[in-house]
């Protein structure tokens, strides 16, 4: 099983995500620089980490979405590799068109940095298979632009197709329908604002995020 974490200038959760991948897979992920044009052919799992890629210039995730490596990520996603975008990674995935919608400035105008309660809406996905549908979990968030926006037709489609993976169980940033994380049509790409990689060890105070990574690995093992 091979995993990779994409690194942009300004990424700051890349190492945390790499530790999470290594903890559950037992192997170090490849750290892939934004200028690289290729990923290993047999890549199974790609992490697009949080941070402030390219200083959030123009729009959060906008420059990173157009960087050379993202074409390779899109190709791998097409092939069925799992892609997990967290926080800035979610913004990069919407900007690159791998996920619909956009992340706007938080409705309150403030940066929000705290633990939030989330409801697992879809426990069938590769990312959420170790959770129960309707279960409440707590992950931290730390973002300024996490206010999910899409037109009503897109939101209805996401809901109808079970592509809302996670929903805020409390008001956080003004997200449409309290959406915290969404899946692509084929279910192998997940973008989410909260940070599961920050709650995987008892030393983190909580381990609610660990099952997301364990479920992914389990899914990959069964698939292979």
């Amino acid at each position: 099983m091979r995993s990779a974490v994409i690194v942009f200038p300004g990424s700051n959760c890349d190492r945390d995500l790499a530790v999470a991948f290594e903890t559950v897979t037992g192997a170090k992920p490849a750290m892939v620089w934004h200028r690289d044009t290729e990923l290993p052919d047999d890549i199974d799992l790609i992490g697009v980490p949080g941070g402030f890629s390219y200083g959030d210039y123009l729009r959060s995730g906008a420059m990173a979405a157009r960087s050379p490596v993202m074409q390779a990520v899109a190709k791998a996603a097409d092939r069925g590799a799992y892609v997990l975008g967290i926080c800035n990674g979610f913004q990069v995935l919407t900007e690159s068109g791998l996920l619909p919608g956009a992340l706007l400035r938080n409705a309150g105008g403030h940066f929000v940095c705290r633990d939030v309660a989330l409801t697992v809406e879809n426990a069938q996905s590769a990312f959420t298979s170790r959770y129960a549908a309707g279960e409440t979990v707590t992950y931290p968030v730390a973002h300024h632009d996490g206010n999910y926006f899409a037109d009503a037709a897109t939101l209805d489609r996401l809901e109808g197709e079970g592509r809302v993976a996670l929903r805020y169980a409390e008001g956080v940033n003004g997200s449409a329908r309290n959406i915290a994380g969404i899946l692509n049509e084929t279910g192998n790409v997940l973008g989410m604002m909260p940070h599961p990689e920050r709650v995987i060890e008892t030393a983190h105070g909580k381990t609610d995020g660990r099952r997301l990574f364990e479920g992914l690995v389990e899914g990959l093992m069964t698939r292979a």
């Binding site: 157009r66 900007e95 706007l104």
Partner: protein, 77 residues
């Protein structure tokens, strides 16, 4: 040749920055401001002969996110 690209949030897309500016104007005692929407101005210095199609493509592919933003191109001689 220069072009100015005006990027604005679509109607109906919440603009917390505009709201904050609005509140600040009211705080300064300016009445009669009904609404404030903030946008971006991007100035491009372009090689002569750059086609309108190319400028439009720059807007669609990078300068504006058409999910949430509109853009307007103003060519300056």
């Amino acid at each position: 040749m220069k072009a100015r690209i005006f990027v604005t949030l679509k109607g109906g897309v919440l603009d917390p920055q505009g709201k904050a500016i609005h509140h600040a104007l009211e705080g300064l005692g300016f009445g009669g401001v009904n609404d404030v929407r903030a946008g971006k101005l991007i100035e491009l210095d372009l090689a002569d002969g750059t086609s309108d199609e190319d400028i439009d493509a720059m807007c669609r592919k990078l300068l504006a996110n058409t999910v949430i933003e509109n853009y307007r191109i103003e060519k300056v001689a």
